[in-house]
Amino acid sequence: MPTIGFSTIQIALALSVYGAIIAYWGARRQRRDLIASARTTAFVVFALVSLSVMALLAQLLRSDFNVQYVAQYTNRDLPTLYKFTALWGGNAGSLLFWLWLLTLFMAIVTVQNTRRHPDLMPYVHSVMLTVAAFFAGVVVFLANPFVTLNFTPADGQGLNPLLQNYWMAMHPPLLYTGYVGFTVPFAFAIAALLSKHTDARWLKATRLWVVVPWVALSIGITLGSQWAYQELGWGGYWGWDPVENASFMPWLMGTAFLHSVIIQERRAMMKIWNIIMVILTFALCLFGTFLTRSGVIQSVHAFANSPQSPFFLAFIAIVLLFSFGLVARRWDFLKSENQLDSLVSREAAFIANNLLLIGITFATFSGTIWPVVTEVLSNARITVATPFFNRVNAPLFGALIVLMGMTLILGWRRTRTDSFWRGMIAPCLSALLVVIFLASNGLHDPIGLSGFGMVGFSMVATIGEFVKDTRARQRAAREPVHVALLNLFRKQRRRYGGYIVHIAFFLMAAGVIGSNVYQLESEATLQQGQSKTLGPYTLTYQNLNSYSLPNKDVVEAKLLIQENGQAVGAIVPTRFFYHKSDQPVTEAAIRTTLRDDLYILLAGWDEKGTSATFKIFVNPLVVWIWIGGLLLLIGTVTAAWPTPVRLPTAEIVPVPGGETVGD
């Protein structure tokens, strides 16, 4: 079995190189036979990599511990689900999985576009097969998951109990769908440049291939945060760790790209810009994949230091040099047909939004690689942590949020002064009301007040769009409210789906601000019957209980909760001791309400359980981050779900985060 898996990947490598060359050659020389051969090669490579993945899966599921990878990441008693997910649990397997997704997407893209874009496809094949060749090369020469041991261990090392979590199992494939998915728009952008067909066709062909990776990254990052929140037991969900940043940067750049595309569609501007954005997004996806396994930057998350680092860096450098060199050579083809008319216009706001997102990416990037930079420049490693990222990114995100609201008040091309000020009234008033409400409730923190004020402003500006447009329909079409609202979505799903994504983002922002600015934190060693008060909650320690389950011992403490003097139930922070592992697992007990999370860890206890020590957090509004994540998914699906009906272009109003109906 290991031999099958490995030889298929070797053949896939050879064929990828062959296909990449003949696809390019065929396109240049107009050789239909070569183009067709490259197309076939794309499918064959996909089939071969699939075989290889199946071989690895078969080994994992059969617990073939003779294979080093299987022995390292699974054990006999591991639930089948986690044997399956071990496919992407380790470095070598995850690279193979990356490659498989790439070839899968290549096959889908081929089916979708061969007839529609015959001029672009050979180049798309050439680019995607080149990327595939790189990853296949890494798997074959540097990270082979099929290496066998010269003995067969009785059992494998198993999977860290912390990672035995459904959400965490889904986190890597979602991130990879994002990373790999952005290869498609990148390949089309390069194809547009190579074929000199630099109109907006490459953008239209890849619309869904921007939205799907983007939403996969969004959800992947959210799930990762939720896992960290539930399992890592420090009361937070995001630590600006290099590996977290690695997934955040392509998301930021992808978000910028998602929006700048709309300007090219609407106003035939920003051609060069869009190509640069997609190149940078793809480069950041590669950088993210690299960072996770490089060991270059001290991260608490990283895979083991692995020998692939120089190759990844070299590949990223080649991608950037080649892409930007090509942009420079095609500069004359990329001149825009239109120019900006006014600073006070929606296009201008989109550009400002893009610049802010690039700014946040740049800030995050600087902070992430700072230790490396300082080591090279001054021989001393200087690192920055959470305070840096918060200090720099919080104001930028604040500006971004305000801009998200302002954009809706501004018109395309230019804005009439009276309509601008009329649009500003409700959002400004609501921002003011939010601030007054919070201040009168004793919350005076300036960061919290301004943050919530900004969110209030843009939230109302966005909801205002729904109200205004629904009213307009009610009047014009004489429809009742609910029919009018539904018809908004029916007619312009991309636009209103996009607004829903924005509302989701505001909810998440509220959760982030609330939990960062107003978090309460305490610890207490309590005798039985003794109480501790934190915020609105009073906790009374009842007793300690311990028992054994087949695979683990459990110690749990019971505390009674009073909220503002009212008994509201009990909470049971727990600690597991898995028999297979020396490592205890502290399960935070979390009581979630819409207002706040009560988050308790069992930190220690005396032998009889007469006293126990707890770490207690009150995290305001955290649940809105998860609600926002769900709404973001709903909004994106609403916006992007393909429909067979083609609507007249006049109806298609492109909107952030959305996908045009009917394409």
Partner: protein, 144 residues
């Protein structure tokens, strides 16, 4: 590069305004980053560097990377006080940490502590990060 798309071929008076607007945003970002780097930087030292470069009782916050010597670990679970030596290349430095100890602490080969060296020459960590080099296993534990 960031000004590329703004710099349209028919650069007119209005596009100059855009260049200025874009420049202001980028300058603001640059200033924020520079300010952040100068105020939130922390030196990253090895144990031997810490022993030679850190002044006892000083207020410099640094990060130290090393291996926790598990034979020296003392943990008072009632008061959440942890003490251990961090070692690297024959050098060792006593560390104290107040807070919940990360689950993977006992298994880790590598730890990162952030804090200051007190007047007794003991490193007072306000953050304890545990790194698991063998696997993809994230663990973070900043304390109060």
């Amino acid at each position: 590069m960031t000004t590329a798309a703004l710099d349209q071929p028919h650069a007119g008076g209005i596009n100059k305004k855009f260049l200025i607007g874009g420049f202001i945003i980028l300058a603001a970002v640059g200033l924020l980053v520079m300010n952040g780097l100068s105020t939130a930087s922390v030196y990253y030292l090895t144990v031997s560097e810490a022993r030679t470069q850190l002044r006892a009782g000083g207020s410099d916050i640094v990060r130290i990377n090393g291996v926790a010597d598990l034979s020296t670990v003392k943990y008072d679970a009632q008061n959440l006080n942890l003490a251990f030596d961090v070692v690297e290349g024959g050098n060792r430095l006593p560390v104290v940490f107040h807070g919940v100890v990360p689950d993977t602490f006992n298994q880790s080969e590598s730890v990162v502590v952030e804090g200051t060296l007190n007047s007794k020459g003991v490193f007072e960590a306000r953050t304890l990060l545990v790194k698991c080099p063998s696997r993809y296993e994230p663990v973070v534990a900043p304390s109060s």
